[in-house]
């Protein structure tokens, strides 16, 4: 339990740092961000007086209390789940985020699960069948791992998306058919959601699988050189068992480094949502950035951070479950 508590401590600290950064940034950034923000906003002509006030409030102007008092108040608000008010949507940030979150989490969960499983399996196969045609996966995967998610999204829209110009197979705008179906527990709505999730999910899967493939292949090759794999072969175990033994061990570092993977997938998905106008947290972050809705931007930043930290904690728990050595120390 101790190791897990330590990790929990790190995540709590990370959460504190993220929240504090989000509090301090608008208040300590040099210059007058309000003027800058308003100027930028006026250029594009979409910042009304309400917007200016909101920016000022958010940036801590017209607030005649000390920084410390503001900080205490900030935490008090957070404690009540109050992330401030979004002027552009005219709703509380937390309620907005709660409405965005299912879209993002659903997509993230499915896409990550698929790419993790597929990537790991292909990586194992590649290490097992070295010298076969599977070796060609290596350069292809390398190329895919270097593709920016949003560029891949654009390419898929072009080729497969209904808003593209080529095959026009899958819907490529919004989370569901906003004109054709009524949200609720009905068949057409659910079918529409699934249809609209295909291209974003395929994008995230294609872009993130490559990383898992490469990582698993390398770990697998390293593991297969271990003595215990040699012993498994000397024991006359069937090849599949031997591979399973190696894969089970090769998986450990992949799970241990899930932190990096999940951060990258989340970052990628934010941009993918933008391309598809997918109504998740990433698209609304982009939207809020454009509208200079600072409360919403910061609220989303805080929530993404918390989601990623939770995923990390989960990965740590899984690691402890699959590695008896960690279990002993934990």
């Amino acid at each position: 339990m101790r190791a897990l508590l330590r990790r929990l401590g790190v995540y709590l600290l990370a959460a504190w740092v993220a929240l504090t950064v989000s509090f301090l940034l608008p208040r300590v950034v040099p210059g007058n961000p309000v003027a800058g923000a308003v100027a930028r906003a006026s250029q594009s002509g979409n910042c009304n007086s309400q917007c200016v006030e909101a920016i000022e409030a958010q940036l801590g102007f017209n607030v005649h209390t000390s920084l410390w008092d503001q900080y205490v108040q900030y935490w008090g608000n957070l404690g009540h789940g109050n992330l401030g008010q979004s002027w552009s949507e005219n709703a509380s940030v937390s309620s907005l985020i709660i409405s965005y979150l299912p879209w993002t989490l659903g997509l993230l969960l499915i896409a990550t699960a698929v790419s993790f499983i597929a990537g790991t399996a292909v990586g194992v196969l590649m290490a097992w069948r070295r010298g076969s045609w599977l070796d060609w996966v290596l350069p292809v995967a390398t190329f895919f791992s270097a593709l920016p998610y949003f560029f891949l999204a654009l390419v898929l829209v072009l080729i497969l998306g209904k808003t593209g110009t080529m095959l026009k197979v899958f819907p490529s705008l919004f989370g569901y058919d906003i004109y054709g179906v009524t949200p609720g527990l009905n068949g057409p709505y659910i079918a529409s959601i699934i249809g609209h999730a295909i291209l974003p999910a395929v994008t995230v899967v294609l872009a993130s699988t490559a990383g898992f493939i490469l990582a698993m292949r390398n770990n697998m090759i390293t593991t297969m050189d271990e003595d215990f794999v040699l012993v498994a072969q000397a024991k006359g175990l069937p090849a599949k068992w031997v591979i399973w033994y190696a894969a089970r061990n090769a998986l450990l570092p992949v799970v241990a480094n899930f932190t990096v993977a999940i951060s990258l997938v989340v970052a990628g998905q934010i941009l993918v949502e933008i391309v598809f106008n997918y109504p998740g947290i990433g698209f609304h972050l982009y939207d809020a950035l454009g509208k200079l809705d600072y409360s919403l931007v910061q609220g989303i930043f805080v929530v993404i951070t918390l989601v990623v930290l939770a995923a990390n904690l989960l990965a740590d728990v899984v690691y402890v479950l699959i590695d008896p050595r960690a279990r002993q120390m934990a």
Binding site: V10, V21, A146, L237, A239, P253, R325
Partner: protein, 741 residues
């Protein structure tokens, strides 16, 4: 941008058994010359060049617009003469043409010129951010790893916190509050660096941690060198490959991050004030924002995207090269068709089955001598016969001949000792016999016959040609008839499953008739036989001591009552007392089960107590073979003589000890003639030219490969001691007790 291979891969610690690393030597990064590395370098150089000269070779200014000539104007539907509305036009980008290689944007700008201008900022920001991040991670990682203690705790905590906070969202928030960031390469690179340094810092810390306890660093510390000096002179040079890999990885992430924030419109627009920089992300943003995808204007947004992917691929390929340098195991890829055909094997070696070259088998039996034949008659029957076995590592010209033309006969119930320095090919020879060697090993010649008479179970009986046996045949023989105990029992047991499960799997495979409870009971009984509590079945390997793990391994090895036991330095990693106990255990088990033993060790004095016969290997060849006592008391080979005089004898008269001069030969570059001649005090001119073959020594049951013992030479008195009286080695007295417990 996604996970780079290094990010999820464990880099094996620098500390390790690889001998070259143990030396106090700076590891200079030498990239393997593979197509991958070359392709990566070419891509990087290309983009580097474009980044430098792009400005000058660009045909137009990236911002220049020429509405007159560069744009098609399309009438907006519903306007124009017939509609009553004034005609209004919207511009349409031009597809690629001779004037505009990559067409134009909707703002009538030349895409090729934009792409060239954008290359500079993108590459510079990527490299600068990577440089800053690498400096940060070296500072944090190396300091934390080297200092340890509280400093390590603190610095690692900072790195872990940064690692846990997702990079891009933090970057977005930071960039959002620094609106001028887009116009300054340094500013934007610094912001990116802050969000990307943590991962590599953690890697560097781990590596430093493993380096700081190494001998050469310890030595510098003892010599009183300052911390900074040790870090700079001893630690850092050894981290070069990892720092380089980190740099490339960070450059890849930094370019991805820069492009991402530019795509979000946070890196400033090149046309606003202050102007942001043209970069690939900005081009993609403009294309996306202006419906270039819907319009089908692929030439606008596809080139920058492909450039990112290509540059990223270049960085990743180069990183592969470094990965392969750090971890050479990744390098031995499959065989090319040509190499495989030349070597006479399939292109895809099967896992766990050493390939055998399909050359005609070397004729063997006929060359065997009269002495051999007579010995065959009056000693026990052979169980494992190795004839003229040769093993290569690698193929073609690069092949290292690890074992050359070796003959060994293991007889039923006997102990055959195989001795020699490390690297002499002992293990290779033994594992080749059961075809357990891994790629790139290749059995290039010889024959291995296994005369099977199963002690228990329904294993295969009769003579089996191991080198032409099928996978299934081999699997049936392995462990059930020929078991192996390796030196390091820590690594020999699967760390993530219990000891019980590791007994269970082999019983399930070889004794399918046994029920689960019966398998468990049998496993417990086996542990009991080696003096362990049956409860230990529930333990994981890391919960046992080294001695217990080795006992468990031995219990596993006898589980199926094999006819042959290959013991590869089974006690070397253990302390002296445990060594003794385990040897006694083994002898007791052998007496009870009656397996033949191939005992591999570098410790001749250990063998003389155990072995019936001893064979000595040097540089891949068998050099002397004799009954154990004869070899021990009257060695004929200079190498054996030297080996024997490395270890002080327990009893008998005092003899001056001499170490073995020189170092073991480099198998890739063996001296001509007898491989031992450079270290031999009696070397003759002939020894430098001709390789001596193993030949019987005037009628005695021993053989030696040494020119000193051929006619016409005077044998030095040290190598001509009289044969000892007793030809049978005596076993330790305790054997009987060990068997009885």
């Amino acid at each position: 941008m996604t996970i780079n291979s290094t990010s999820l891969t464990v880099i094996p610690p620098v500390a390790g058994p690889t001998p070259e690393l143990v030396l106090r030597r700076t590891r200079i990064l030498r990239l393997p010359r593979s197509p991958k590395v070359i392709a990566g370098l070419v891509i990087l150089v290309l983009f580097g060049l474009l980044a430098i000269i792009g400005r000058w070779i660009a045909p137009y200014s990236p911002n220049a617009t020429d509405q007159q000539h560069w744009v098609q104007h399309v009438l907006v539907p519903g306007t124009g003469a017939a509609t009553g509305f004034p005609a209004s036009y919207y511009p349409l980008p031009l597809p690629p043409s001779a004037a505009h290689w990559l067409g134009t944007t909707v703002f009538a700008q030349d895409v090729w010129s934009q792409l060239l201008a954008a290359t500079q900022a993108t590459v510079v920001v990527g490299l600068l951010a990577a440089a800053i991040a690498t400096v940060l991670s070296v500072l944090f990682g190396v300091t934390a790893g080297y200092l340890g203690g509280g400093a390590d705790e603190g610095l690692s905590l900072i790195a872990n916190v940064f690692l846990a906070i997702p990079g891009l969202p933090l970057l977005i928030v930071l960039a959002d509050y620094v609106p001028s960031a887009g116009s300054s390469v340094v500013l934007v690179a610094s912001i990116i660096a802050v969000t990307t340094w943590a991962y590599t810092s953690r890697t560097l810390r781990a590596q430093t941690l493993s380096l700081r306890n190494r001998d050469f660093v310890e030595a510098s510390r003892v010599m009183g060198e300052g911390r900074l000096r040790i870090i700079l002179v001893e630690v850092l040079p050894n981290l070069v490959p990892i720092v380089a890999a980190s740099f490339l990885f960070t450059a890849l992430s930094a370019i991805g991050a820069y492009v991402a924030i530019a795509f979000l419109g946070l890196a400033g627009s090149p046309t606003s004030s202050p102007p942001g920089l043209w970069n690939w992300g900005e081009m993609l943003r403009e294309g996306f924002a202006n419906n270039a995808v819907r319009g089908g204007w692929w030439w606008w947004w596809a080139p920058p995207g492909l450039c990112i992917a290509l540059l990223g691929t270049g960085l990743a390929l180069l990183n592969f090269g470094i990965d392969e340098f750090i971890n050479p195991r990744l390098r031995t890829a499959g065989l090319s068709r040509k190499t495989a055909r030349k070597a006479g094997i399939g292109t895809r070696p099967k896992l766990g089955m050493t390939p055998v070259a399909h050359h005609p088998p070397v004729a063997v039996a006929s060359v065997r001598t009269v002495a051999e034949a007579s010995r065959l008659r009056d000693t026990a029957e052979p169980v494992l016969e190795i004839r003229g076995l040769s093993v290569d590592y690698g193929y073609d010209e690069e092949a290292v001949h690890a074992v050359v033309d070796c003959d060994l006969v293991l007889r039923r119930g006997q102990v055959l000792g195989l001795a020699g320095e490390s690297g002499s090919g002992k293990t290779t020879l033994a594992l080749a016999a059961i075809r357990l060697l891994r790629a790139p090993a290749l059995i290039s010649a010889g024959q291995v016959l296994f005369h099977s008479k199963p002690i228990s179970g329904d294993g295969p009986a009769g003579t089996i040609d191991m080198l032409s046996a099928t996978d299934d045949q081999l699997r049936a023989i392995r462990w059930s008839e020929i078991a192996v105990v390796l030196q390091s029992s820590l690594n020999a047991l699967n760390p993530v499953i219990t000891i019980g499960a590791q007994f269970d799997d082999l019983l399930r495979v070889h004794r399918p008739a046994l029920a689960e409870s019966a398998r468990w009971a049998r496993s417990g009984a086996l542990l009991d036989m080696v003096g362990m509590n049956a409860d230990r079945l529930r333990s994981y390997p890391h919960e046992l001591s080294g001695g217990m793990r080795q006992r468990a391994m031995i219990a596993m090895a006898i589980a199926l009552e094999p006819q042959v036991m290959i013991l590869d330095e089974p006690t070397t990693a253990l302390d002296v007392v445990t060594q003794r106990e385990i040897l006694q255990e083994l002898i007791g088990l052998r007496d009870r089960i009656g397996f033949a033993t191939l005992f591999i060790t570098h410790d001749l004095s250990l063998l003389v107590e155990l072995a019936d016969e001893i064979a000595v290997m040097y540089a891949g060849r068998l050099m002397e073979r004799a009954p154990a006592t004869s070899l021990f008391h009257a060695p004929r080979l200079p190498y054996t003589y030297a080996l024997l005089h490395c270890f002080p004898p327990m009893h008998g008269p005092r003899v001056p000890m001499e170490g073995l001069k020189g170092s073991p030969p480099d198998m890739r570059d063996l001296p001509p003639g007898c491989a031992f001649h450079p270290r031999c005090q009696w070397a003759l001119p002939r020894c430098r030219q001709e390789v001596p073959r193993l030949a019987p020594l005037n009628g005695s049951p021993r053989e030696v490969a040494c020119w000193l013992h051929r006619e016409g030479t005077t044998v030095p008195p040290e190598l001509a001691q009289p044969e000892p009286a007793s030809m049978r080695p005596r076993r330790p007295e305790t054997v009987g007790q060990a068997g009885g417990t």
